[in-house]
Amino acid sequence: MSGFNKVVGSYEEAMAGLEDGMTVIAGGFGLCGIPEGCIAQIKKMGTKELTIVSNNCGVDGFGLGILLEDKQIKKMVSSYVGENKLFEDQLLGGELEVELTPQGTLAEKMRAGGAGIPAFYTATGYGTPVGDGKEVREFDGRKYIMEEAITGDFAIVKGWKADTYGNVIYRHTAQNFNPMAATAGKITIVEVEEIVEPGELDPTQIHTPGIYVDRLIQGTFEKRIEQRTVRA
């Protein structure tokens, strides 16, 4: 039997079941560690009215930015979205909704979603527009706001290596939001640079255990750099 083999052979198969109006949680920070292949597949499928939960929305022509071209995104839940022109146009034109969420709160909302924690309290955003309409509560003399968990119909994740069981490790700072995204999808798809056999990864060094992963695909990645800074 297939047992725990999560490998699929195509991005069509990887993203099968995605429908208009669904919520997709995406790993990545800026253009670092983004699931390039899954995003391209969503563009190809033309799925519309999507809510995308991702720290950023790519740039013009790359990353999640390409989903703006055909107006596939209805709403972004992000901490920072100011990298592209189409985004700005659609936002100002009222075609796109944005729910700005502090970066740490966003990471924690994803983790909570995956971990069965429906809500938590944080001081982040108290007394700011982020706290508007949210429950305020005092603990030990300090004020906190209640934030609710996020889950997605799909989660799309970029890993470095994975075994066929879906045990994933990330490379350097391409880890970022990916481990939390992986836990928070009803269906979690991980695309990686290399798929290895079970047993090749050290069990104590796995960032995302295979239990969170539904589909695994090997991709190729452009890995565009947003701010190429070098020293002599």
Binding site: L31, C32, S79, Y80, G104, Q175, N176, R228, V230
Partner: protein
């Protein structure tokens, strides 16, 4: 004379202590890393998930998978650790970072800070700034004392939407080093050659001026 960006960074660097874990924001705060006193070690935290950020890479070292919170390619120092964004903000929110340095549009006498949004302009988002100011006990705000029209950025009440409420205690501007206490700014140091009168005239919020206001050592 008003401090240069570099002098501002130098003054902030005097607040560093050996063994500090420090988060530096974009802009002037980033420059602080260049003025760590000789023989002192600090470790830079980058909120995308890196503790122990090193200098920019050489051309050969550039790696798309190794960036900082400003999305710049960076390196790691020996003894660095890399982790998820949830872990990174657990550190920040949990108060484990010893010092946070960031810029601002406005600061007020209640320790409120506005740094992420100017209504009427396009809102790009707060990134990690709200988490940083809510999580740190020890925050230094660096900014110019007044905007380019001469309007003070040190106010009785912030006019812009807040990044955090009641969280700022120290401000280093191009004119002065101030602390915030009991609903007022306390003038602690002047930039070399800057008069108390100039600082008073450019400070919008309630300001306490002690008898003796030494010049900064920069």
């Amino acid at each position: 004379m008003a401090l240069s960006r570099e002098q501002l960074a130098m003054r902030v660097a005097q607040e560093l202590q050996d063994g500090f874990y420090v988060n530096l924001g974009i802009g002037i705060p980033t420059l602080v890393a260049n003025y760590v006193p000789e023989g002192m070690e600090v470790m830079l935290q980058s909120e995308n998930g890196l503790l122990g950020m090193g200098p920019f890479p050489t051309e050969e070292e550039v790696d798309a998978d190794m960036i900082n919170a400003g999305k710049q390619t960076v390196t790691t120092i020996t003894g660095a650790s890399i982790f998820s964004s949830a872990e990174s903000f657990a550190m920040i929110r949990g108060g484990h970072v010893d010092l946070t340095v960031l810029g601002a549009f406005e600061v007020d006498v209640q320790g409120n800070i506005a740094s992420w949004m100017i209504p009427g302009k396009l809102i790009k988002g707060m990134g990690g700034a709200m988490d940083l100011v809510a999580g740190a006990d020890n925050i230094i705000v660096t900014m110019t004392h007044a905007d380019k029209h001469g309007n003070s950025k040190l106010l009785n009440e912030c006019t812009l939407p807040l990044t955090g409420a009641g969280c700022i205690k120290k401000v280093v501007t191009d004119l002065a080093y101030l602390e915030i206490e009991d609903g007022q700014f306390i003038l602690k140091e002047r930039a070399p050659g800057v008069s108390v009168e100039e600082i008073v005239s450019k400070t919008g919020g309630k300001l306490v001026v002690p008898d003796n206001v030494p010049e900064m050592n920069v």
